[in-house]
Amino acid sequence: MSTFAIETHALTRCFGHRLAVNSVSMSVPEKAVYGFLGRNGAGKTTTLKMLLGLIRPTSGAALVRGIDVTRRRVDAARNVGSLLEAHGFYVNLTGRENLHLTRTLLDVRASEVDRVLEVVEMTDDAGRRVSDYSLGMRQRLGLARAMLGAPPVLALDEPTNGLDPDGIADMRRFLKALPDRTGATVLLSSHLLGEIENTATHIGILSGGCLVLEGELSRLKGDLSPEIAIRVDDPLRARSILRSFDLTVSEVEPNASLIATLRPGYDADRASADLNRALVDAGLSVFEISPRARSLEGIYREVSGVNAEVHTREAMEIA
């Protein structure tokens, strides 16, 4: 048995002359919440569809718990529950009836329907027609359907799409706790940095069809250069003072803050104290000096190029 819940090897898919997914080799560890990140059109959904056996790769392989999806689709599919962008609910049927249809096809026990409804806290609404459900309720019902039969891997495509802020917060909490509650590995596809940052233990960033970064989120953040935000009464003088330190002043923000970027591994607290002392000794008024927590946005910007910046900000705002 493979140590990874999901693996792809040089997975490639072309649509005509367009290369949608370009030699993607990803590894999703067991019981991880793997954030699959990328802008719209980066190739996330195409990769997900290949993992689910919905489309065939042009070349390369996709494996779910060591099972080749192209060669043994049905066996691989037994290990995956999925929530796709198009829910595919029969809106004239109730939530419970929709789950019953999938349960029948999966040939799992009838009690599974009650179990998954309880997990997503939908038991009270299960008797209502899906046409009367809000988008958030449909997302939760989709999640319940994905969990029927307790598959060890869950592939979720944009699960917070269309949810209100409370719904997004609930979904994040739910997804984060899922590996502990059910033992499942979660592959979470999203273009929202905030969603991934608050939920994922591992990330993979897709850009232009290529996997440009993959790894454990905490380790990737730790590898980043520390930053210190500084707000003073005279930013121009401060810049000249900071030049004597082993750092770069990279940015002046709209509120006249300076951002000092240290070398990777440098102690940000100690540097803050040194910088503060130097600025005060030079007679400047220091309003604020604080190490900045490194965010996924920084990682994303570094690996996705300049054009990604605008998109990232938009995504963060939406999140």
Binding site: A77, A86, G88, Y90, L106
Partner: protein
């Protein structure tokens, strides 16, 4: 396969398929009822039953198949359920085959319901106007056998309509095909070449020349079965982008 059949049955049970299944044969029975009441002379049972089978075979059967296959396909196209269905650990051909089986079963049920309702309509009209009571022997078994051949000969058009309805997300290609096929079936009912035209194969079961009956039955039933199998295989294998 049983699970797929059960699921399709549950979905159809909550759709408007039953309304369609009853409405189409009832319309023919209503027509026969009033047509009989406006007559002056009694007619033979065979004439009334064959009239009903004829109308069913050349017009109402192709139209019903068009509507039914569009409905069956749209149950998945409408809510965009294909990705969910096709991602499940179920052999895809079973999903499509279950749909085909239900369509054939419903068409067969509608056909025999047509016969039963026509019998009821003629009996009711005769009770209202006893002078018009049908004459001659009532060969229900023979008419049922003829209807069975009509359903079998309609298998090719059913396969073509079902493939078109499932292949295209929009219902327009399937409807255009069905309306077009039925149109030529109606305006060229007597055409000799009609025996090779899928939409006219059912009505050729009423032909007096045996070669026409045999040819239409072999093509409609035999080739129809092959086309249905090929259609299911194609739909199972194709990517749904």
């Amino acid at each position: 396969m049983l699970a797929a059949l059960k699921v399709e049955g549950l979905k159809l049970n909550r759709s408007l398929a039953s309304v369609l299944a009853v409405a189409a044969p009832t319309l023919i029975a209503i027509f026969v009822f009033f047509n009989m009441l406006r007559g002056d002379e009694p007619q033979a049972w065979t004439m009334w039953l064959q009239t009903s089978v004829g109308i069913w075979a050349f017009f109402m059967l192709p139209m019903s198949v068009t509507a039914l296959t569009a409905l069956v396909a749209h149950m998945e196209h409408g809510p965009r359920a294909w990705d969910h269905l096709r991602a499940l650990p179920v052999r895809r051909w079973k999903i499509y085959a279950a749909k085909a089986v239900w369509v054939i079963l419903i068409v067969a049920a509608m056909s025999f319901l047509n016969l039963a309702l026509t019998f009821a309509a003629v009996s009711t009209a005769a009770a209202i106007k006893p002078a018009l009571a049908p004459t001659g022997p009532l060969d229900l078994a023979g008419q049922a056998a003829m209807m069975g051949r009509v359903v079998l000969a309609g298998l090719l058009l059913t396969a073509i309509q079902l493939w078109t309805a499932l292949r295209f997300t929009s219902f327009v290609p399937a409807l255009a095909l069905g309306i077009g096929g039925t149109f030529f079936s109606v305006v060229a009912t007597a055409a000799k070449q009609g025996v090779f035209f899928p939409w006219q194969m059912p009505v050729n079961m009423l032909a007096t020349e045996p070669w026409r009956v045999h040819t239409a039955l072999s093509l409609g039933g035999g080739v129809g079965l092959i086309v249905m199998v090929v259609a299911i295989a194609h739909l199972s294998r194709r990517e749904f982008l």
